[in-house]
Symmetry: none
Amino acid sequence: MSLVMDMNNVFDCKILIVDDEPQLQTMVSEILRREGFTKLITAADCHEAREMFNLEKPDGVILDVCLPDGDGFFLMREFRAVSAVPVLFLSARDEDENRLLGLGLGADDYITKPFLPRELILRLRAVLSRAYFPLVLKQNVKPVFCLGEIEIDLNSGSVTTKKGQLTLTAKEYALLEKLYENRGNIVTGDSLCRAAWGDDLYGYENTLMVHIRRLREKIETQPSAPRYLLTIRGLGYKLTGVDSK
Amino acid sequence: MSLVMDMNNVFDCKILIVDDEPQLQTMVSEILRREGFTKLITAADCHEAREMFNLEKPDGVILDVCLPDGDGFFLMREFRAVSAVPVLFLSARDEDENRLLGLGLGADDYITKPFLPRELILRLRAVLSRAYFPLVLKQNVKPVFCLGEIEIDLNSGSVTTKKGQLTLTAKEYALLEKLYENRGNIVTGDSLCRAAWGDDLYGYENTLMVHIRRLREKIETQPSAPRYLLTIRGLGYKLTGVDSK
DNA sequence: CTAAAGTTTAAGGTAATTGTAAGCTTATGT
DNA sequence: ACATAAGCTTACAATTACCTTAAACTTTAG
């Protein structure tokens, strides 16, 4: 999948359309294209679909159930095993059993042919926007978590240790938030800088280090031998040992 | 709405069921309850629904289109104006126009009566999990895979064996990433060098070997007799035995 | 307006990572 | 079997990314 952060709206989503009937394939493509989707990829069978999926990393899949070399259900399972992309099934016949099977396997929606173009679009948009722009989550509740004995509350920006309570500064907060979002994973220095200073150019990399240091001063019991905010030399930083609350 | 952070799965979601037919109301409630939903609220008309919505802050709404004192569409617009809760419509008749209207207003799904209990559940779950547990956003952008007993996570750049965890250095990371991208296939030395050092000219071929060796030290149980990172004499290297996760 | 708090710059120090070289082993072809 | 080429291993040297500290600068709050 293309990096989620690069997407501003559902139309930026790359959609893989898997259907063996050329007529339907172009029809679906046309519907999407007319609506504003530009990144479309097509595949006519499981084999090709697999290839395209791995190659193009689509952000959404429209999948015909019946394919010449296998069924769409199986294919979806493969996709889901690696990526949680939203999948919308298209099916020729409206058989309850199939519909339940598809949805049960985790399909995001299941549309029966013949379908209304408008409905396809609306359902695709619904699925994509829930998957990539989950407004519900944007409400203003920030995480609270622990690093060993230290509790961090990103709502108040406070760090509570046995010895007392400190407050994070703006930069420290921005950095820690970014690190927390990607806890367990490496975050590049560049990425951290953008989180704290925006996309504008930025002077010395050293600045980041100093702030990391200050942050360590607050969240590490032994800042010089960090246990949580680790340096991954050559790659970036990583927050580990996070207990979510 | 209840705080998102307090929810661990879709069953923790508080669901508001709005339907004027008592029979259907209890039927839907029963279906949900049997599946594991415990926090159910019901309302029989728009007025009551509004009240319940404000009072209880549900995490999801199942909404009949036809209500005695107004239509569900209008009601949804009100809800959506303040909270982005997932809404799933139930409709008596399968009229295209209504379905499109509902979806167009931002409904998350639209089910026509009579419906299969299982389908209601599946669709509700799909909608809720996308809204509150958007895996897509959390998924690892980089691959995680196994070489026998050894697990490699390219997000965190970590190699986990039975004996413990190591971290890859920048060069090791670059090489392994390239090899993984072409797993099963031979990657030429030249290609690997470019992956790790860029296109600029580069000194000694030996350097690559040294790094390959170091990488083997981390990912092979017996670095001198590699099982995964193989030398293809005269051609390059190849990563085999990869279990994708 | 002043003091305090926060941020950035600069410079010297350190250690992990990386590069190099030299000797070694294994494969290949005659 | 031998010669030659390709690849492996090891140790050590060089580099560079990162850390630390302190001082200068900027913003905020009283």
